[in-house]
């Protein structure tokens, strides 16, 4: 097996068993913020203990190890075909080792061959850059939270949402309201304003690669992120929808151009079991640095 293969298996193991530090810090802050003795606090305590146990035992944080999605930043001339093949082997081996559940089902036959391989499984996104380094980010996106993602086509009369930032705010908050109790909150929102239906969802998911405490460089979006975060956490939905102070751990929003006829707002929801990690690789495929 190549060094790249081993590095990718280790990336999968660590992503599945260890929550990244920025997410952990926000979960600890949420635990601190809940009123003592409430069921919300009890739920956050169980979540904290679960994170600790999974890391110690090197076992999946959540049994739904999700859709396996790689994001690869690579130099010009990088061999994408070999990378993709190696990633598939790594997923198969990580499944055998129990870092991933047998979690991939043929949509036509309903069969699960236990390999986690198939059309779109895993998904690999490549992006070229002009530097020599290779960075691989991995997201394991659970099904329960993916199910509560939503795409809104503005205007929406029922929600009084027009084609402006206020309309965006209304539909994003509606998504939070509708997701309650279902996506294993508290969660993180990734949002894309604009784009077509496919890029809108794609970009919204990529927002989840940002660090939770970072700030948006675009002032309008930064303002909207802060506003949604504050407002959502005043709704009293709380962890698991039990009621409480923390409904969201973070909000990340980007904008993409749209055609005049369309105005989509796409919302991806990530559960508390926020599994993403990343590595910088040497040209030989050795892990040089962890990115989160």
């Amino acid at each position: 097996m190549t060094m790249l293969h081993d590095s990718l298996v280790e990336l999968i193991r660590r992503t599945s068993a260890e929550i990244p530090d920025d997410v952990l810090q926000s979960i600890l802050a949420a635990l601190e913020a809940e009123k003592k003795g409430t069921i919300a606090e009890a739920a956050m305590k169980i979540i904290e203990k679960n994170i600790e146990l999974a890391k110690r035992k090197s076992q999946p944080i959540c049994q739904d190890t999700g859709s396996v999605i790689f994001y690869v930043d690579c130099p010009v001339g990088f061999d994408q075909i070999t990378f993709h093949e190696t990633a598939r082997e790594a997923v198969k081996d990580a499944t055998k080792k129990g870092f991933l559940r047998q979690n991939s089902v043929d949509s036509l036959t309903g069969k699960n061959d236990g390999t986690n391989l198939g059309p779109g499984a895993p998904t690999v996104h490549f992006h070229q850059h002009r530097t020599e380094d290779v960075q691989v980010r991995l997201m394991l996106k659970g099904g329960g939270c993916e199910n509560v993602g939503a795409q809104y086509s503005l205007p929406i009369e029922k929600l009084h949402a027009n084609r402006d930032l206020d309309g965006c705010r209304k539909v994003i908050l509606d998504a939070v309201l509708q997701a309650q109790g279902k996506g294993c909150g508290p969660g993180v929102l990734g949002v894309c304003i604009g784009g077509d239906r496919a890029t809108g969802y794609e970009f919204s998911k990529q927002q989840l690669l940002r660090l939770i405490p970072d700030r948006n460089p675009v002032p309008e979006l930064d303002k909207l992120e802060q506003d949604i975060f504050k407002t959502a956490n005043e709704l009293g939905i709380g962890p698991m929808g039990f009621g409480g102070k923390t409904t969201l751990l973070g909000v990340k929003i980007c904008a993409a151009n749209r055609v005049p006829a369309s105005f989509f707002v796409s919302v991806s929801y990530m559960c508390w079991a926020f599994r993403r990690q990343g590595v910088s690789l040497s040209p030989a495929g050795k892990i040089e640095k962890w990115l989160y």
């Binding site: 069921i39 009890a42 739920a43 169980i46 979540i47 203990k49 679960n50 146990l53 999974a54 035992k57 076992q59 999946p60 944080i61 959540c62 049994q63 739904d64 129990g98 559940r101 659970g142 329960g144 199910n147 705010r169 209304k170 908050l173 309201l177 309650q180 109790g181 279902k182 294993c184 407002t231 005043e234 709704l235 009293g236 939905i237 709380g238 698991m240 929808g241 039990f242 009621g243 559960c271 508390w272 079991a273």
Partner: protein, 191 residues
Amino acid sequence: MIKLSLPFTEEKIRALKVGDAVEVSGVVFTGRDAVHKYLHEGGKLPPGVSLRDGIIYHCGPVMMQHDDGSWKCTAAGPTTSIREEPDQGQIIRDFGVRAVIGKGGMGDRTLAACKEHGCVYLHGVGGAAQVLAECVKKVRNVYFLKEFGSPEAIWELEVENFPAVVTIDAHGNSLHREIFAASQAKLAQLI
């Protein structure tokens, strides 16, 4: 924190109210989509499985089999319950179920069945696979493994201090409904 030991009595279940934190100990049976469909269509429980005064747990655990044939539970969090909404009320009635454990809550039909027959819905912490697996002290048996596959089989689990919250009680109350209404009203103010 209310300690609940299986089997339950109707009186004990009716004493619970929405928002109560409980810890369950005793023998529970898992069942998800395939089991609910089978029972709904008139299927019989295999000998050794009784839900009467007991629990059905919406869970597809991750199990490992030792060389001697015994099982170890490595992950055992709740799965989304609403998928079982069409059949749950009937199963509560026909099999005398006293508690359903799952996540995400259930709908009006289950709520009505809980009220009528003396049953509660217990919400586990979604995603807490490791903590909940630690509460499983023993895997006693498995039924329908060949027919339904591992996640969908009926697993007989001995659990200790399994934490959950009553979110539907036997008096027609639903925490899910309450929080949805309250948060919707709050959002209307803030928007």
